[in-house]
Symmetry: C2
Amino acid sequence: MDKTNKRPLILVSNDDGITSKGISELIKYLRPLGEIVVMAPDTPRSGSASALTVTEPISYRLLRREVGLSVYKCSGTPADCVKLAFHTVLDRKPDLVVGGINHGDNSAVNVHYSGTMGVVIEGCLKGVPSIGFSLCSHEPNADFEPAGSYVRKIARMVLEKGLPALTCLNVNIPDLKELQGIKVCEQTKGQWVNEWENFAHRGDSHYYWLTGNFEATDNENTKNDHWALTNGWVAVTPVTVDVTAYGLIDELNTWF
Amino acid sequence: MDKTNKRPLILVSNDDGITSKGISELIKYLRPLGEIVVMAPDTPRSGSASALTVTEPISYRLLRREVGLSVYKCSGTPADCVKLAFHTVLDRKPDLVVGGINHGDNSAVNVHYSGTMGVVIEGCLKGVPSIGFSLCSHEPNADFEPAGSYVRKIARMVLEKGLPALTCLNVNIPDLKELQGIKVCEQTKGQWVNEWENFAHRGDSHYYWLTGNFEATDNENTKNDHWALTNGWVAVTPVTVDVTAYGLIDELNTWF
């Protein structure tokens, strides 16, 4: 029996694009755990959520191949990358799908906008244990080193233990030299405010850049990922792709 | 007291774009219920999920204004449209946010890819009762009439009763002349397969168009939106924006 065939197969993608530091660091941390196939967007795709490309075709290209690592770039969204990798470059179902490491915080409601989590949700919908990693820094040259051992540890645990159907992990890591450890969290409630910066353009029209501040409505809740990050912990928030609001079904049945 | 100020304020958007038949029909069905403000994408944006525009600024323009109705087009995504409408054209918090009527089925896992549901999730995150309506037909000239009375009834109920925090509705309607009535549902489990159509391009390269079939894994479950639609019912699936997988927290706490 060929032992090399028994190494775990790990599909990696992201939303910052194939040239970002975060994905290079992620590959470095994951390589000891298995065979890595990377299919990542050829341009930055932050804020892509689970968007798909439906109005034009997409393509992909091999960038580099060495023992245990194949790297492809793709013209599609993060979710497209996962779908296309399954269809084309993966010779078997992967053991793990990993998104990241994102340059920026995907905790709290950001889970809904994140292309990193778009990768993870897609992996999860395809029945593969999936994890998104994000560092709370938008710096292109951010320091990922303190995160490295946590990334590897969490990925190793998921490879070993699996995850229940329809669930995946959203892991956010403070941008600190010293981390407190891992805290299992709930998604922080709250909302973005002051979301647009308004610029006058040629006098009579305006354009708007997305910006804003996140305001948590439950800042004191020590179970929340926002609290964990503020206090120096790596926040592991389990996420479900079954978004049915089961608690509302009985009430709605009285309406109709 | 000016009674006109007490009419409900309803924000409408979609992902098929401002010129689609579905949004015109939606406006027609909702007008008796309140004052309507429309901010919708200037181009088709199907499959946008909750994507945001972060790499360029966006803008909007008034298309038409009459008593009880203002219509704007916007260069952003469906979620951008909602965010920008709150920041610019709405003079108070709306009583209802409505996405649709989508040309195509957004039941089951499609909730994750749907720009219509991107509108709804954004409204919900902003604390406003929100509903997405989708007709199970991709025809540009689909017949929305059988859906009309259901759209109005469901919107009226939500205006009257509200929805609990962090929950919204995903309503899908079969493309039939005769509908059975309303059924409150759960999100169907399953996955898309055969997702890419492959075309050779100039001999040595390939491009891929997204396509595919949805395969439900729980077809026999009569609680599911897929079952309801197949059997002629309007499927009302309550959706949560708190995607924490609470059931996994205790298990994860034993890992770390």
